[in-house]
């Protein structure tokens, strides 16, 4: 078999995917870059000419910018911590022999199938509403004052909603990893008198590190751009405005496409910083 021929065929097979994605990246990116240097105000008649770096300067110097970066990181970080921690616990539990394992698994993964819009609507109205929500009923039942979740603890509420959606994903990946755990090694450790905590810390966790890396990586990509959950619940009020939401406000609410595009460029930069950071810290795990 001619290796060179083989290799070039292989490259050729990769071409459609690479070209398509290159197009999907370059065309919008170029247009975004172009708009970001223009005074583009659709409601004032469209493209009003060259703006230099005005949009870039205006976007970062606006009082909303740094808080939005902070909010983004808090939401992403909060959801990651919750889903990974609970995911590990759930994966270990579901790995145990229990009655009705299949049924429990179905219950646990169900939230993953729910559209973000639907899940935000259901949580907002039927659970977190301070008058008619189920939590309000529960609080009153125990004689407590109902909490207005989405205005009193808005960030935590959104983190809970998003975590609920992503917990199944984390659990599934961690579960497959737990299932491949070396039982003999665990049993040997138990014989040697290692405490459950020690066994978890020295055997289980290192084994799961690769799966955790993947959960963190994939979830981060999706979480950086969450939108529906915020749009439906708080509309960006009470300090829940993420960078994505800020861009939405600039582009669609203020109808300032140039300014929003500059924000888009910043968002790409932020996403790549996060990505590089992730790769450096945990990326080693991806190479065997």
């Amino acid at each position: 078999m001619a290796t060179r021929h083989f290799r070039s065929t292989a490259r050729l097979m990769m071409a459609p995917a690479v070209i398509l994605l290159l197009g999907w990246m370059l065309v919008p990116l170029t247009m975004t870059l172009w708009f970001s240097f223009r005074r583009y105000l659709p409601l004032r008649g469209g493209d009003l000419g060259w703006a230099g770096f005005d949009n870039y300067v205006r976007f970062v110097t606006s009082g909303a910018f740094w808080p939005s970066v902070q909010t983004t990181l808090i939401i992403v970080g909060g959801v990651l911590v919750i889903t990974v921690a609970l995911g590990v616990v759930l994966a270990l539990l579901l790995d145990q022999p229990i009655w009705g394992q299949g049924a429990v698994r179905i219950l646990v993964i169900a939230p993953f199938f729910v559209m973000p819009t639907v899940s935000a609507l259901v949580w907002k109205n039927m659970f977190m509403d301070p008058v008619n929500g189920l939590f309000a009923h529960l609080w009153r039942f125990f004689g407590a004052e109902p909490v207005a979740w989405l205005s009193d603890v808005p960030l935590a509420s959104i983190v809970v909603i998003v975590s609920w959606q992503w917990l199944p994903f984390a659990t599934l990946i961690l579960l497959t990893a737990v299932q491949s755990l070396d039982r003999e090694q665990l049993e040997a450790a138990e014989m040697d008198g290692a405490s459950p905590l020690a066994r978890f810390g020295f055997i289980v966790l290192p084994h799961l590190s690769r799966a955790i890396t993947i959960v963190v990586l994939i979830q981060t990509i999706f979480l950086l751009s969450i939108f529906a959950e915020i749009f439906v619940t708080t509309g960006g009020a009470f300090g829940t405005r993420t960078l994505t939401y800020l861009i939405y406000q600039r582009v669609l609410e203020s109808q300032n496409v140039g300014l929003g595009s500059a924000g888009g460029v910043y968002a790409i930069i932020l996403a790549n910083i996060v990505a590089i950071f992730l790769m450096r810290i945990v990326g080693k795990n991806l190479d065997r």
């Binding site: 105000l41 659709p42 409601l43 004032r44 008649g45 469209g46 205006r58 606006s62 009082g63 909303a64 509403d129 301070p130 008058v131 008619n132 004052e145 109902p146 207005a148 979740w149 989405l150 205005s151 009193d152 749009f231 708080t234 509309g235 960006g236 009020a237 009470f238 300090g239 405005r241 406000q249 600039r250 669609l252 609410e253 203020s254 109808q255 300032n256 300014l259």
Partner: protein, 434 residues
């Protein structure tokens, strides 16, 4: 010509061909999911039967609708033959020539029957660009039983001081009865519609005649402090998340003593099917502070035709049908006079059957007392009661609304919120080149 272009052009042609074929004599209408529009959808079969024109509905929640139609109109996307828009969008879009002028409507449509306040707000330079489907102002809806129990009597045109006194007297938190329900949810069409209208009564304004933002003035401080204190004393829990729908639902469940909101809500709160308090609702003009302006707004949901549609004639036919006096009679016949789309035509208020509807007179009086051309005590450079009809307003007011909403939630003081509002507005107005 590159391969890609050929491909693109071919695809476009094929798709256009199929699109034309599929859409022959069918119009696409984007609308909001409010009760009156949903009802109209139920009657479109009759329109199709009369005219042979099919109708496809795209029904969306208000915020999604706005983002959808704005994107489409500014890019000339051509996705819709009719768009449901409001008094804020119409003059701006009309000025940009994005809408088909409605200056050649048929004689039997009787365009002069449209209430002057509505026609004025939906025109640019004297040309009508959108036909009102229904119009509204805002007024006080209150529980007559609770008011009597508190030993008070609601005047026809109360002051804010009286409203506060009554709200505190009616509040009974242990039994989940709150003296007053007001909008707190952030958004230019939510809390800012209410607060801007309220601020007019307190002598405040958004901009002075040089377009300088006025949030650092005393009038706005009085407005916001009064509002926050009132809501803390007599408002429901979590009011900073309540918009029109949330408050409607609270009022229907009998949890509000007073509610100041859109006049169209009157038919919902007096409908015994949905409302537990239907037989004990009274109406009064929105409050004032004696400065000559009441706290009521003016709004219309209207149907407009985007320029460039190839179904212009059919779209006009539909608009004439949906906003006509005949449609009002059709609804009255089937659902009763209380459920007809209100606030658009003067003839409706001359109909004896409609005059018997309890909220009809107060609705008309509220609409007539709102003046978009002179909304404030001090002169302003903008048109609009609860908004300023400039393209930047929606974006600015939503951000300001978020600050006010946070102040209502107790996350910052009214003074902090006003300082931020002033900064946001100055920054955006500067960016827009004022």
């Amino acid at each position: 010509m590159s391969m890609q272009r050929v491909l693109g052009a071919t695809t476009a042609l094929t798709l256009c061909a199929t699109a034309v074929f599929a859409q022959e004599n069918t119009i696409t209408i984007a609308t909001v999911n409010n009760g009156d529009m949903i009802r109209m959808q139920g009657y479109t079969d009759r329109f199709t039967a009369e005219t042979g024109i099919g109708v496809e509905w795209v029904t969306l929640e208000e915020n999604v609708l706005r983002q959808r139609v704005t994107t489409d109109i500014t890019t000339s996307g051509g996705q819709f033959d009719i768009m449901t828009i409001g008094m804020y969008e119409t003059p701006i879009w009309g000025a940009n020539d994005w809408l088909v002028p409605l200056d050649d409507l048929s004689a039997e449509y009787d365009v002069d029957d449209i209430l002057p306040a509505m026609a004025g707000g939906l025109s640019h330079d004297g040309t009508l660009y959108a036909a009102p489907f229904y119009g509204e102002s805002s007024m006080i809806m209150y529980r007559t039983d609770l008011m009597a129990a508190a030993g008070l009597e609601m005047p026809e045109s109360p002051t804010w001081a009286f409203v506060r006194e009554a709200a505190i007297a009616m509040t009974d938190r242990d039994n989940e009865i709150y003296g007053i329900c007001l909008r707190g949810k952030a958004g230019w069409g939510e809390n800012m519609a209410f607060l801007t209208a309220m601020s007019n009564a307190f002598g405040a304004r958004w901009f002075d005649e040089d377009w300088t933002p006025q949030f650092d003035g005393e009038a706005w401080a009085n407005t916001l402090n009064f509002y926050i204190d009132l809501m803390n004393e007599a408002g429901p829990r979590g009011a900073s998340s309540n918009g029109f729908n949330e408050n409607l639902s609270l009022f229907q469940q009998g949890k509000c003593g007073m509610w100041i909101d859109a006049t169209v809500a009157a038919s919902f709160v007096t409908n015994p099917d949905d409302s537990t308090v239907a037989d004990s609702v009274g109406f009064a003009l929105a409050p004032n502070t004696g400065l000559g302006r009441n706290s009521n707004w003016l709004w219309a949901w209207a149907l407009a035709i985007p320029a460039g549609t190839d179904q212009e004639a059919e779209a006009k036919q539909f608009i004439e049908w949906a906003t006509s006096g005949a449609y009002i009679e059709l609804v009255a016949e089937n659902e009763g006079w209380a459920n007809v789309p209100p606030g658009a035509r003067s003839s409706l208020y001359e109909t004896p059957e409609y005059q018997a509807v309890p909220f009809a007179a107060m609705t008309l009086q509220s609409i007539l007392s709102a003046d978009p051309l002179n909304p404030t005590v001090d002169p302003v450079p903008y048109v609009g009661v609860q908004f300023a009809a400039i393209p930047e307003f929606a974006g600015i007011a939503t951000q300001v609304g978020q600050e006010f909403s946070a102040a209502l939630a107790g996350q910052q003081s009214a003074e902090e919120a006003l300082a931020k509002a002033q900064a946001i507005t100055s920054e955006e107005m500067e960016a827009a080149g004022y």
